[in-house]
């Protein structure tokens, strides 16, 4: 009995491995294309062995017009957006996690509701509103909107992580006369470092990849982040240089992949996000 069970398990493992490898190969094809094409002097649209390896594609795009300015714009938008999101969500999570009030429950329910609203739907009214109040085509307007759209989920995550910090240490600090703000900054936040890291990285990654928000709210080409400027490869340059497009995609995607790996390593596997979303 034990023998048949173990041999059955072994054959089952082989079957599972085979199944996963088939799916992995399918998912890998587009990724393979971008990596190979970025190094290929004669890149086209299908996966193929490059005709010799070259860094010419990268040389061609690594200048301020094509790459550095859009990446800097992305960094400004996402950096300040993330900073605003993390600071506001940490401040907001503190009373929600530490004090009991009649307002907590309705507030948290509203926040939870807002986390799953389709932001895409409100972009047309946001555009109309931004035109009225002269925030259209400004970096700060876009940053504020980025932060606001990311805040519900950030508050939700931050509050859950904060609930995990025992409050005995804070009570000691309170008896020594520390204020709420002091105990938040000196005691609670350092103890929930991984949680703050998750909120920071998650917000940044979401903003970095976001196309629709800057596409709608920014107009001047000089202010466009990489997510929008990448479309120029198709627009007004006539013949599309697929090798350069691939190289740009690699450069633009690398930061978020690195950030993800960094956080996933520290938290082990699933980003802890699956768990956080499940509540």
């Amino acid at each position: 009995m034990a023998l048949t069970l173990s041999s059955r398990r072994k054959s089952r493992r082989l079957a599972a491995d085979a199944g996963l490898l088939v799916v992995a190969a399918t998912f890998a094809l587009p990724l393979l294309w971008v990596v190979l094409s970025s190094l290929d002097p004669h890149a086209d649209l299908k996966v193929k062995a490059p005709d010799g390896l070259t860094l010419d594609n990268f040389h061609a795009i690594l200048n301020s017009d094509i790459t550095f300015t859009p990446l800097l714009n992305s960094l400004i938008l996402c950096g300040f957006g993330t900073l605003l999101t993390v600071v506001c969500s940490a401040l907001a999570a503190y009373p929600l996690s530490r004090f009991r009030s009649r307002l907590n429950r309705p507030f948290l329910l509203t926040i939870l509701f807002a986390t799953s609203l389709p932001i895409t739907a409100i972009m047309v009214p946001v555009y109309a509103l931004f035109v009225q109040v002269n925030l259209i085509d400004t970096m700060q307007g876009t940053i504020f909107f980025f932060a606001a759209s990311q805040l519900p989920f950030a508050i939700w995550l931050m509050k859950n992580f904060m609930d995990g910090v025992p409050k005995e240490l804070e009570e000691a600090a309170w008896t020594d006369g520390a204020s709420s703000l002091q105990s938040l900054v000196r005691i609670v936040l350092p103890l929930m470092g991984p949680g703050v890291a998750v909120v920071t990285v998650f917000s940044f990654v979401m903003m970095w990849g976001n196309f629709f928000v800057p596409f709608m709210l920014l107009l001047t080409p000089d202010q466009m982040p990489a997510s929008v400027s990448i479309n120029e490869f198709f627009g007004n340059r006539g013949m599309v240089a697929y090798g350069q497009l691939a190289a740009f995609s690699v450069v633009y995607s690398t930061p978020v992949i690195l950030l993800y790996v960094l956080v996933a390593r520290r938290l082990g596997g699933g980003f802890a996000l699956g768990g956080a979303v499940k509540g």
Partner: protein, 317 residues
Amino acid sequence: MTTAPQHTGPGVRKVPPGPTAPAPQLSTQKRLFTRTLTRLLPLSPALILLLLFLAGPIAYCAYIAFTDLQLTGQAHSSFVGFANFRTAFKDSEFLNAVWLTLVFTVLSSLIGQNTIGLALAALMQRASKPVRTLTGGIVITAWVLPEVVAGFLLYAFFRREGTLNAILDWLHLPSQNWLFTLPILAVSFANVWRGTAFSMLVYSAALNEIPKEITEAAEVDGASGWRRMWHITLPMIRRSIGTNLMLNTLQTLSVFGLIWVMTRGGPGNKSQTLPLYMYEQAFQNSMIGYATAVALLLLLVGSLFSVIYMRLLRTEV
């Protein structure tokens, strides 16, 4: 998710020593009120941002959906009641967009991401570690990539001279211009490629929580893999299935960049889902009021799913 029990330590001391605070005759109610206010003060930056940039636009959306606001230097817009909505439901392009959104959501979210995510998670439970790590890495990379980059990769994959047709030729199967003949299928597949990782993560976490003894007992009793899946595993993770379906659907409803990059909604309007239709009405046709009415409908559908999702979550907040 336990809420911290009430304590009285800091709040009482934090009442500012203003002219009213230390007065002994002050009613407890008023003191409690001041205390609550001080405690909720850190909420204000987030609250201001949310009110100005999220609640504001939503309210504005609900208002201009009932006006004939236009993009092109119109002196003033006027209230038109439900005219925008009546126009929408008579417009064949709008109905086409609704239909395509439905197809896109069912194909890519309900069938694609959800089923493949569950299958991957289940296979991963049995597979060897290196294969598991490799597959997880590849699938998650597709998820972490910026939306527009994912769009380009899949655009290249489905183009006439792209990878898919190269493989089909190699297998001596008929190839075709996918982005032209079956654009909605191509963008649905793209959304599956990009979004499956999320379902995979949710289901992996859920499957890990099922006690080993239960599945092992069923295995010893001779229940086959499919029967174990159907009678034991699925009922045990049904809450995760519910939340995952809702979140997938909500995410899929608001996909814009992926489709924009791959097909711009075309050819014609054969892959024009609601967000792309809304965009076209607002900026190609300058009908902000009408586009906002469409947006409001999208928002209402989204809210409905969101409420169902909260119901399913049923957390103690």
